[in-house]
Amino acid sequence: MSERHTAWLLVAVLLGQLLLLSVEAPSPSGPGDNVLESTVLRALAPVSHAVASLVGGVEGLGGSWRSQRTLLAENRRLKERLRELKLQQIRLDEMEAEVERLSAALDYQRSADSTLRVADVVYADHSSWMRTLLIYVGDHPAVVNQPVLSDDGLVGRVVEVVPGYAKVQLLTDRAAAVGAMIRRTRRQGVVRSGPDGLQLDFLPQQVDARVGDEVVTSGIDGIFPRGLPVGRVASVAEGDELFALIRLRPAVDFGVLDQVYLLPVRSLPEM
């Protein structure tokens, strides 16, 4: 092919990609479906999975060589923790029974119990501009907008699905937004990722917010159910004219995710 033809080909390819980029430029709801990306992701996801399995196997081998003393100490600590959790469970059972009783008295319909599904993380990129996870879901496909949790709290939501795998947009992604509230005061805002990490936006200057306040999902965005831990208030300062600048410390350490849980997708009630 002559240089002239190659130059025209370059122009065509670049224009095509610009068109694709401009169509894909995110709306507030996040990245859209892309056939080409799905096809390539379908081909390459098993490679990431294989690498993750290999590294996991090597790490497992290393872990099994820990000293007996360390294992005994951990055993003691876990037994103590189990005892505490059993006591907590007894208290929660009592509280649940009371809620049932009060609900029956008010004729209030509770939502069905949510069942969590475990998924392995096969690829995590949380250090570049974009924040994403690739998880292995096996024969039980995930659904777009399905909430993703860890043991400590909210991780993000599913944004793309291919057979066997799903791509998760992390809470720390610049395009992510979550309806949230300060648990103590029930004051609602939106959690987004800012230049210095997570922040709780759209709360007025005079809001009652203290360092250490727990922030949970508010359940009003139609995606995440209420009550999922998002983080804690790290600092409160004056923002622009109307709103306070509230920075959060995330509940989840995104650097150590090996497994996550998928919550069922919420369906909004019919009006």
Binding site: L21, E24, D125, S127
Partner: protein, 171 residues
């Protein structure tokens, strides 16, 4: 044959990238193996090869990032073509030359990515100058190392081939 070699190299890059991201938290920010492959392919001087290598490697890189697909595809295509055209005019035979070309190309690539992000995203997070410099340096070093190793392998194979043919003639 060249296509097969590139496909194998791309697969190796995918594996190494997945391994790197898993083991080192800042790997994705400091090393762009896909772009190293683009530069090495483009240094042959064939502008079509540079273009296609950038397109393929860039789009593959985009698969592993959330957000806009074709962001790296666009930047790597443009820079791959430019590096190939430059290689037609400059004779890059030494590792130092490869290091310099790759490092400068990396800076240009990141500038294109930043310009696209500023144009297309509402509030993009741009990379800090330190990480731009780290990625440029790592791209240059990796490209120069791969270039040197590749050249030594090729000259070794050529020497073995010529000694084998000399032995055949003597026999």
């Amino acid at each position: 044959m060249r296509t097969l070699r590139f496909a194998v190299a791309l697969l190796a890059v995918v594996v190494l990238h997945a391994l790197g991201v898993r083991l080192v938290p800042e790997f994705a920010r400091s090393v762009d193996l896909f772009f190293v492959l683009t530069v090495l392919s483009a240094l042959g001087g064939d502008s079509l090869v540079g273009l296609l290598a950038g397109l393929t490697a860039g789009l593959t890189h985009d698969v592993f990032t959330a957000g806009l697909f074709a962001l790296h595809g666009f930047a790597d295509t443009a820079v791959g073509y430019a590096v190939a055209r430059l290689a037609q005019r400059l004779l890059v035979e030494r590792a130092r030359g490869v290091l310099l070309v790759a490092a400068v190309a990396s800076v240009v690539q990141q500038a294109i990515l930043a310009a696209l992000a500023l144009t297309l995203l509402a509030d993009p997070e741009l990379p800090q100058p330190l990480w731009i410099a780290v990625q440029a340096a790592s791209t240059g070093v990796l490209a120069a190392t791969a270039f040197t190793v590749g050249r030594r392998l090729r000259s070794g194979m050529a020497a073995r081939r010529s000694s084998r043919s000399r032995r055949l003639h003597l026999d």
